[in-house]
């Protein structure tokens, strides 16, 4: 029985050994297969799956491959599969460290813009680059100038936002000096924006005149008969002028644009002053004056209208008598015909006279209005320019104080 048991035990042991040998042979074959693929990644992954094969894998990697040819991303990924305390892990991690040093040397002389492009090109290196920036820039923040801090904060999007902001907060003297240095350029550009306002103002003034006058003469042309009295007739036109070319309306229109302009100028000045640490500063403003319309011209020509109307009555009477004689002499319809024609002629004569008188008057008023608008335009533009220039000088003083 003992012998049988021993034989049985031996046969079991042999079969186990055979099976283990067979499994080992199988594993070795698989390893050879992987080696033959000439692929470092497969080898490292194989070693991660079968830790017993790590020694052979290290042999193969060291003798047949050059792992320094792997990219940082590949090495970084493969390093994660093995701890640094194993020989394969040690090999991979050290090479990974060397790659990191290569990358650090490469990015050190780059500009931050180039570093951004680099990260964009190699997204897998973002955290590595970030780490280097932490160690280099992050530890140097107090040594960076205000402008350099701004450069870092704008270029390295979101990097150490609060720390940089806090550091910038301590640079008030630097900021003030910088803004004082540049305020002249700032105001020169502001001055260059004035023609925009001038253009808008002049356009409003002249468009207002064009439209207003058009409305004026249209309204006036719709009055068939003006009063007989020249003064009343002139007064009637003056009232129309005041309605159609209302100085207050024009002033309001201009003031709106001037206020809008000043609002934008002051808004920009506020931002500028804020950086310079100046809380109180002169603001640009301008009160648009009322236009002085010169429409009270000599209305002597309107007397012609009253005279013409009187002539019209006389002429009609004469026509009536003349046509009566003609009718008595001819004893027929000739007289009637002459009366009709005569009256018709009188109407035409009166209309011509009235029209000509009113036209001359309107034209005289127009000439004076034109001159008023011309003067007004020149005067207000000149005033606003002077105001802006003086105001800018004050602003400059505040910033430089």
């Amino acid at each position: 029985m003992d012998i049988i048991m021993r034989k049985l035990y031996l046969s079991v042991c042999v079969s186990i050994m055979l099976s283990v040998t067979s499994m080992q042979a199988q594993t070795y074959d698989n390893l050879c297969n992987v080696i033959n693929q000439n692929d470092i990644k497969s080898l490292v992954e194989y070693a991660a799956r079968y830790p017993d094969s790590e020694k052979q894998v290290v042999d193969v990697l060291c003798s047949l491959h050059d792992i320094s040819e792997l990219t940082y991303e590949q090495l970084s990924e493969l390093s994660k599969l093995h701890n640094r305390d194993t020989s394969l892990g040690h090999l991979l991690h050290r090479e990974n460290d060397r790659k990191e040093l290569e990358i650090f040397s490469f990015i050190e002389p780059l500009t931050l813009e180039e570093i951004n492009s680099y990260i964009e090109k190699y997204p897998g290196r973002k955290s590595l680059v970030q780490r280097y920036i932490d160690k280099s820039i992050g530890n140097s923040l107090p040594n960076l100038s205000y402008l350099e801090l701004n450069y870092v904060s704008t270029t390295m999007n979101g990097y150490e936002k609060s720390r940089i902001k806090a550091e910038i907060g301590t640079r008030s003297a630097e900021k003030k000096e910088l803004m004082a240095q540049n305020v002249n350029d700032f105001l020169v550009q502001e001055q260059k924006s004035l023609p925009r306002l001038e253009y808008v103002m002049e356009k409003i003034i002249w468009s207002f005149f064009v439209e207003g006058h058009k409305q004026l003469v249209e309204n006036y042309s719709r009055i068939p008969m003006v009063p007989d009295d020249a003064y009343s007739a002139a007064h009637q036109y003056q009232e129309l002028v005041n309605v159609c070319l209302s100085p207050k309306t024009l002033q309001k229109m201009l003031q709106t644009e001037v206020d809008n302009y000043c609002e934008q100028v002051n808004k920009a000045r506020k931002d500028y002053a804020l950086i310079a640490g100046v809380k109180e500063y002169p603001k640009m403003s301008y009160k648009v004056p009322l236009i002085a319309l010169r429409s009270n011209v000599d209305y002597g020509v309107l007397y012609n209208i009253a005279e013409a109307r009187r002539d019209f009555v006389v002429s009609r009477r004469d026509v009536s008598q003349g046509s009566g004689v003609l009718g008595w002499l001819t004893g027929g319809l000739w007289g009637l015909g002459a009366k009709f024609l005569g009256d018709w002629y009188c109407i035409s004569d009166l209309v011509d006279t009235e029209y000509n008188a009113r036209k001359v008057y309107v034209q005289d008023v127009y000439d004076n209005l034109y001159a008023s608008f011309e003067d007004y335009s020149k005067k207000s533009l000149s005033q606003i320019k002077t105001t802006l220039t003086q105001n800018e000088k004050s602003y400059e003083k505040f910033i430089k104080q």
Partner: protein, 431 residues
């Protein structure tokens, strides 16, 4: 005279008469005149009002109405022309050229934006600046300090810190014969750390390092150290003890005329050119396990190995009627390799580099194939092809390619052809 006087009298009388008569007559005439005038006036008035009387009061009123209406119409019509007195549009349009602007310009927000941009340009004026120049160079200093800390971790100060004690012991032993071994090894490891891993994995490689010490390229080659310390002798224990190969630890590597000579106890075994070509000067080198990714040359025979040291192709130049026996002799025969590269009794050895033309029964040139009818037929076919090729071309190149399943050392297929013409004979193993 009397006539004259009477005439005068007559004239005076006549004059007085005339005056007297005339005075009363003028009153009459005035009256008559007035009457006449009144008559004429009445007549004239009646004549002048002839037309009006023709029209009658109704007609006159009607006509006056027509005249009044016509007057109003004509005035209204003519006064329309007053509307033509316009301010020239050029007063507005000329502003565009005056200011060099056009269209709506009253949205002044862009003035703020452009002023803001200018402000930003002052505040953010630093652009495209090298990171290393920031902070007056402090960024570079900190960055370099960080890099230096990593570099320090990578640096190797002494052998003892990095190699195993076993390796250290071997180094101590070989330092006795060559004092510069330790320093040389440290320098070589610094130059190529792969050596470190080979040494730690295989301390016997220290001996190979020592044996190759005079050849910089070899002693710094991990492939060389690994192969001669481990791989080369891998099958040695499987060979008959009586036919044992020289101990690889005894093999020396020396340089002569630019070629690396491989020798054992003063006997030249072969030469290495480059890092992957071995010219055999004996059969020993063919009986160690083949070096991976290497070309072995003997006479006009060439073997190429793959990454795990398996022969994957053989080329042999064959000259018609010129049988050349191998110059070198070996105690080992093909059957001695059965335990290494055969799977059973039914397998027969085959030497692709034909012994008739300089081939030998070496491990490099021996392959076991199943002794099947088909393989026998294919061997006959190969001989036929050889004959045909020699007959037609006088001499030819025998080309053998070998395939293996996965990582196995037993081939699954061997294709034999001559000059790439005349067809192919194929031996197979069903494994």
């Amino acid at each position: 005279m009397k006539n004259l006087l009477s005439n005068k009298r007559c004239c005076l009388v006549g004059m007085f008469l005339f005056i007297g008569v005339n005075a009363s007559y003028s009153q009459i005439l005035d009256w008559i005149g007035d009457q006449l005038k009144e008559y004429v006036d009445n007549k004239i008035n009646s004549i002048a009002g002839y037309t009006d009387s023709q029209l009658g009061s109704f007609g006159r009123a009607l006509w006056d109405g027509v005249v009044e209406s016509e007057l109003q119409d004509k005035l209204a019509e003519r006064m329309q022309k007053l509307g033509n007195i316009e301010v020239p549009l050029s007063t507005v349009s000329s502003l565009d050229s005056k200011y060099g602007l056009s269209g709506e310009q009253n949205d002044f927000r862009d003035i703020y934006w452009s002023q803001s941009d200018l402000t930003k340009s002052f505040v953010y004026s630093v652009k495209m600046k090298s990171m290393s120049t920031l902070g007056n160079g402090s960024v570079r200093q900190n960055g370099q300090a960080y890099s230096e800390s990593i570099r320090q971790n990578l640096s190797i100060a002494s052998l003892r810190d990095i190699v195993s004690s076993e390796v250290m012991d071997s180094v101590a032993v070989y330092s006795m014969s060559n004092a510069s071994i330790a320093d040389g090894l440290l320098a070589d490891i610094k130059a190529n750390e792969n050596i470190l891993y080979i040494l730690n994995n295989h301390p016997s490689a220290v001996r190979i390092y020592h044996n190759s010490f005079n050849i910089d390229k070899l002693r710094r080659s991990p492939k060389h150290l690994l192969y001669w310390s481990t791989q080369a002798k891998e099958y040695c224990t499987l060979l008959p003890k009586k036919k044992a190969l020289p101990d690889v630890g005894e093999i020396k590597f020396e340089i002569d005329n630019g070629k690396v000579q491989i020798s054992n106890n003063g006997t030249l075994l072969g030469e290495m050119s480059g890092s992957s070509t071995i010219s055999c000067s004996s059969l020993e080198l063919q009986n160690y396990r083949a070096m991976p990714n290497t070309t072995y040359i003997m006479g006009e025979i060439e073997w190429k190995t793959d990454a795990i040291g398996r022969v994957v192709s053989i080329k042999q130049v064959i000259y018609k009627g010129n049988n050349v026996k191998c110059l070198y002799k070996s105690k080992l025969k093909s059957k001695d390799f059965a335990s290494i590269i055969s799977t059973g009794d039914n397998m027969k050895p085959y030497n692709p580099a034909d012994k008739k033309y300089g081939g030998a029964e070496t491990l490099l040139n021996t392959f076991f194939f199943e002794s099947t009818g088909e393989n026998k037929k294919q061997l006959k076919q190969a001989k036929k092809l050889e004959k045909t090729a020699l007959k037609q071309n006088g001499n030819c190149i025998k080309v053998v390619s070998i395939k293996y399943p996965g990582g196995s050392t037993i081939p699954s297929e061997m294709n034999i052809s001559y000059d790439g013409l005349f067809g192919t004979a194929t031996l197979t193993n069903n494994i």
